[in-house]
């Protein structure tokens, strides 16, 4: 299969374009998705190819166009609605969680809502509290939405094709700092080899990005790239980290997490969402509920945004969002502490 390097933005837009060629019911709606190609490039080049009837710029009117996507999906179309920043869910959450997420259930499964809500997440570029959140756990917390959070171009393409073909609402969240944009620094690991042909990646299958013996780092999205860099640094300290990229959190590949933690006996969760009541707690609870078959060598450790809004100023933002060095240091503590404990007993 022919492959070449693509940015994650290019990969997402390629997946959408291929699905649009495959299925006439697929179309895109959102702010600046047309001529601009999406503020973060997720629909780059699609307008020229598919025209404005299928790549539809909308007014800044999220309730109307996300609700419109719901209505069109109920009629059997396959809309993709882009919410420019996930932080903007506040103006349209009723359509998202009271309608998109619940209608299938309230209909007893008698209707289908095959739609994708895609949105940009994440900080790291000083855009402050209303444009830098991740919030994937918020969507995952409420039943009725599949939640996809890719970390690289290859996965993003396959997961987007899968999202469009799914008969259920899928929230597809791409981190701005791995899209490979020419105007924002990004982690180069996210730009990788992507086959030209169309393919899908099933939901609920985490990927072991790096195998290791000493600890498991469970992570997702941009934090995967940070964790891989951290794992490389940890080699010098004699620590062999296994990195698990969840890829989707609804459904969540619980088995992959448990399999890895059973092997390593140590768990670090690296998360860019808020700390409390979120993804890191969920993963920790999963392990806690399985302590009969998981032998932990050290208590679970969590890295996440410490329950503050994302601050603007560079030193403040870098302090609250886990960085490569914070992953390294947490991993060293986790392994070091238990090795020490082991030495004493």
């Amino acid at each position: 299969m022919k492959a070449r390097k693509l940015t994650m933005a290019q990969a997402i837009s390629e997946a959408i374009g291929q699905e649009m060629e495959r299925d006439a019911e697929v179309f895109v709606m959102g702010e600046d998705v047309g001529k601009y190609g999406g503020i973060f490039g997720a629909t780059g080049g699609l307008l020229d190819k598919h025209g404005k009837d299928r790549i539809m710029d909308t007014p800044i009117s999220e309730t109307a166009f996300i609700g419109t996507a719901i209505g069109a999906a109920a009629e059997g179309m396959r809309p993709i609605a882009e919410l420019m920043f996930v932080d903007f869910f506040g103006v349209c959450m009723d359509m998202i969680y009271n309608h998109m997420a619940k209608n299938t259930y309230m209909a007893g499964g008698n209707i289908k809502l095959p739609m994708v809500l895609m949105s940009a997440i994440g900080g790291g570029y000083n855009d402050a509290a209303q444009h830098s959140q991740c919030l994937y756990a918020t969507f995952a917390h409420m039943p009725g939405m599949k939640v996809v959070v890719p970390s690289n171009a290859y996965d993003a393409k396959g997961l987007m094709a899968q999202a469009i073909r799914d008969d259920n609402p899928v929230v597809f969240l791409f981190h701005k700092g791995i899209m490979g944009l020419p105007w924002m620094s990004y982690f180069e690991g996210s730009t990788n080899e992507v086959p030209e042909a169309s393919y899908t990646i099933p939901f609920g299958e985490a990927k072991v990005v790096r195998e290791g013996r000493d600890l498991t780092i469970v992570t997702l999205s941009q934090m995967v790239q940070k964790s891989v860099l951290a794992a490389q640094e940890l080699v010098d300290a004699g620590i062999d980290a296994e990195v698990i990229d969840l890829r989707t959190i609804v459904p969540l590949d619980r088995a992959a997490v448990l399999r890895s933690v059973r092997k390593t006996g140590r768990l670090l969760i690296a998360d860019e969402d808020y700390l409390s009541f979120g993804l890191s707690g969920e993963i920790a609870a999963l392990v806690a509920e399985n302590l009969d078959t998981v032998q932990l060598k050290a208590p679970v450790k969590r890295l996440a945004v410490p329950d503050v809004p994302i601050p603007y100023s560079r030193p403040l933002e870098q302090f609250v969002i886990p960085q490569v060095h914070s992953i390294v240091s947490a991993a060293r503590q986790l392994v070091g502490a238990s090795q020490l404990e082991g030495a004493l007993t």
């Binding site: 009837d53 007014p59 609700g67 359509m95 309230m106 209909a107 007893g108 008698n110 289908k112 009725g144």
Partner: protein
């Protein structure tokens, strides 16, 4: 656009059906909810009886439902609000699964997962929502789908006058007009948003006036009359089918019952409902049909007997249907 005799007869029979349906529900709803069957000290127990939860009935508001739906075909879509029965019945949703849904039964439209504010019938292209103003964006979506597929289907969003100060109303009007969507926005003004009168919530006397802000026609039907609604809706729906875009239709109507059953209605002036009931749109249309020689007493009785049989059968079906298995609660989050 004067209704044909067939359409007048259809509207008459459907209005009788809606009224009988709602009055029957008002009665059954009270079963098990009053002393001495409930917890001591309570006057009413909303969660008790065969039909628990909130119940919003539309007795008196029949004209808006039948006057609009008389124009609709199977392929047209209707999205209703939290008070949805009259729209559902007028759109052709079968009474049996609809009623079973309100009884929380496995034979219900949503297998007991939705209840009376959340009725989904994809075959008859009807849905509704318990969130105020939420009928409009999905109706725009149905209209967009029709347009994309090159069909002359239309979508109708029904909502109360209390919904017109929601963002969803204004956003949907703008989007529908901008994209010339084949959608009809129908505001049924029953004067009260629960207890708050329109004059206390809305900056203009008539919501129809707001249509001009979005470059679409706004039409006021100032009487609770099926023929008047029919005529105004016909023009708007034909316009939508021709691809000329949306219309906002505002209909003055009357709510005979409380916002929900159990509503003490202390906000209503004494005697208001009695006065409204003297202007009942059902006997008015019946009189009209009689004077025109379309029906006589015998036909009228036959219609009422037919309706009564349908409604009785539906409630019986709902009552005797099985409940879902408790663990079925875990099904249908995804399809």
């Amino acid at each position: 656009m004067n209704p044909s005799v067939e359409h007048k007869l259809w509207m008459y029979e459907k209005m009788i059906e809606i009224r009988e349906y709602e009055e029957t529900m008002a009665r059954i709803y009270l079963e098990g909810k009053l002393p001495p069957h409930i917890q001591k000290g309570l006057a009413f127990d909303i969660g008790a009886g065969p039909v628990p939860g909130e119940m919003h009935l539309a007795a008196g508001q029949e004209p808006v439902a039948v006057g609009v739906c008389a124009h609709l075909h199977d392929d047209d879509t209707v999205v209703g609000a939290h008070r949805p029965h009259h729209f559902a019945i007028a759109k052709g949703v079968p009474l049996k699964p609809m009623t079973a849904e309100m009884f929380g039964k496995d034979t219900g439209l949503g297998r007991g997962k939705g209840g009376h504010m959340h009725l989904f019938d994809p075959i008859h292209k009807f849905s509704c929502s318990g969130i105020i103003g939420a009928s409009m964006p999905p109706a725009c979506g149905a209209a967009l789908a029709a347009k994309k597929r090159g069909k002359n289907w239309v979508a109708v969003a029904f909502f109360g006058e209390g919904a017109t100060n929601q963002g969803a109303f204004h956003e949907s009007m703008n989007l529908a007009a901008l994209w010339k969507l084949p959608v009809l926005f129908v505001c049924e003004d029953n004067k009260y948003a629960i207890s708050v009168e329109k004059s206390e919530s809305t900056s203009v006397a008539w919501n129809a006036d707001r249509a001009s802000a979005y470059g679409m026609p706004g039409v006021l039907v100032d009487q609770n009359d099926a023929v008047a609604v029919y005529e105004a809706a016909g023009v708007a729906i034909e316009r939508a089918r021709r691809g000329e875009g949306p219309t906002l239709l505002e209909v003055k109507t009357d709510r005979y019952l409380g916002h929900f059953q159990g509503d003490p209605e202390t906000y209503r002036p004494k005697g208001e409902v009695e006065a409204l009931r003297r202007n009942d749109p059902i006997p008015r249309l019946g009189e009209h049909l009689r004077r025109a020689g379309v029906i006589d007493d015998g036909m009228d009785q036959a219609i009422r007997a037919r309706v009564n049989a349908r409604v009785t059968e539906a409630y019986e079906y709902a009552r005797t249907s099985p409940y879902p298995q408790p663990e079925d609660a875990l099904l249908h989050v995804f399809n």
